[in-house]
């Protein structure tokens, strides 16, 4: 049941991003998507930091908070420097509501069930963000510095995905 819920949330999350690849996004919208995507994973990481039972999962959650906070600081600094005001859009909004849904779902779980649900969502989330980076955000970024920042942080998302998969494997 829980797994179905998580799968449902993950699928629901992916739809807008898939839809997005078809349409053009401007830099202001990209800025909003990047900041929201990081914030969503920071929020989930904070929950895992306090509620996970497996030390590996706890450590992973803590690292997600650190890494995504760092990326967000750099993204915010750049956006401020460029004088771009992040523009809210459907993708950013659905990321936000998907993140809230995930946190709500996690808050009802404990122990091993929590650990599994959190990591499962992290795997799906990082895969989803990587797809968005490759199909929409990086090709869509007009400003060279914004594009460079996205290219620079992309490998971190790959590493997080690999790391999440490793943790997921060890939980089974």
């Amino acid at each position: 049941m829980r797994r179905t819920t998580t799968l449902f949330i993950v699928t629901a999350l992916m739809l807008p991003v898939a839809a997005l690849s078809a349409q053009a996004v401007n830099d202001a919208q990209i800025a909003a998507i990047v900041v929201t995507a990081n914030q969503v994973d920071i929020d989930a990481g904070k929950v895992a930091e306090s509620s996970a039972s497996d030390p590996q999962v706890k450590a992973f959650g803590k690292q997600m908070v650190t890494d995504h906070t760092g990326v967000n600081k750099q993204a915010t600094d750049l956006v401020t420097k460029l004088g771009v005001t992040p523009e809210d859009n459907a993708t950013a909004q659905s990321l936000k509501s998907g993140g809230a849904e995930n946190v709500k779902n996690l808050s009802g779980l404990k122990g091993a069930a929590f650990d599994r649900a959190y990591i499962e969502h992290e795997v799906a989330y990082h895969q989803q963000v990587l797809d968005a980076l490759d199909k929409t955000l990086i090709p869509g970024a007009k400003n060279a510095e914004l594009k460079a920042l996205l290219v620079k942080v992309r490998p971190a998302f790959v590493a997080h995905l690999e790391h999440a998969k490793m943790v997921q494997k060890s939980l089974k």
């Binding site: 690292q63 650190t66 890494d67 995504h68 906070t69 760092g70 990326v71 600081k73 750099q74 600094d77 401020t80 420097k81 510095e145 290219v151 620079k152 942080v153 992309r154 490998p155 971190a156 790959v158 590493a159 997080h160 690999e162 790391h163 490793m166």
Partner: protein, 252 residues
């Protein structure tokens, strides 16, 4: 109201006395310790005071250096004279930078970048009193100081490759962590040589050898780690936080 001049002076003196008393009280409460973080108002006031205190004649000076390569020479000077506090990339998050009062600023930040070239030159030359910034006017020539200004201007757009020292007799081997990978990912050094890792990513990385011979601990953004390998051999290492971030160090 009919305040006579004499009374006006008393008011001014009273206000001044109050300011002095408040300052003394603040000092008694915190002492002159540096293990605090300056408040927003203090930071804003101090930054603007530094900028505005530079005479217009100095602030409006233009760099005599022509060409776009001045900052490259500035990179070496910066590493030798400034990186201890400012970090090799100038972002300020070194081991000691955040613990100074005021903390070492991020030179790439908009607050610093709004200083004119002339103002930056004045800061490098004269230093800033009541901070850790020394005056380099007597130890470095004018051309070198302008090269440092060029480097500071470059800090917002520095890339990993920019910081790798070009060949030279005392160039240490420098490996940067950028884009969640090591550059270069294969390095060969002599036994006893200095190897320096610099983290240019906005989140922590570490250097962990597979065999357990060396471990840097987590390096904060802009943090560096220096290691002198003495044991000869081929050492594979990675960042334990980011699987897939791997490299090799050969010691001959």
């Amino acid at each position: 109201m009919g305040i006579r001049p004499g009374r006006g002076m008393f008011v001014v003196l009273g206000v001044l006395a109050l300011v002095v008393v408040l300052a003394v009280l603040a000092l008694l409460r915190t002492g002159l310790s540096a293990d605090r973080t300056p408040g927003r108002v203090e930071t804003l006031a101090a930054r603007n005071l530094v900028r505005l205190s530079i005479p217009t004649a100095e602030a409006s000076r233009r760099s005599p250096l022509n060409g776009s390569e001045a900052w490259r020479q500035g990179t070496d000077l910066f590493r030798n004279h400034c990186a201890l506090c400012h970090g090799a990339a100038g972002r300020g998050a070194t081991a000691i930078g955040p613990h100074m009062y005021p903390p070492v600023p991020d030179l790439a930040s908009p607050e610093i970048q709004r200083f004119s070239d002339g103002a930056l030159f004045a800061v490098v030359s004269h230093g800033v009193s009541w901070t850790g910034m020394p005056a380099f006017g007597r130890s470095l020539g004018e051309s070198d100081r302008w090269k440092l200004v060029a480097f500071v201007r470059r800090t917002p757009s520095l890339t990993a490759a920019d910081l790798i020292p070009r060949d030279g007799p005392n160039a240490s081997t420098r490996i940067v962590m950028d884009g969640t990978s090591f550059h270069p990912d294969e390095a060969t050094v002599d036994s006893g040589a200095v190897v320096l890792w610099a983290n240019l990513d906005p989140f922590p990385h570490n250097v962990t050898s597979e065999s357990g011979n060396f471990h840097s601990g987590d390096l904060a953004p802009d943090g560096t780690w220096v290691f002198r390998p003495t044991e000869r051999g081929t050492f594979e290492y990675h960042c334990s936080l980011h699987p897939g971030m791997k490299a090799v160090l050969r010691v001959r």
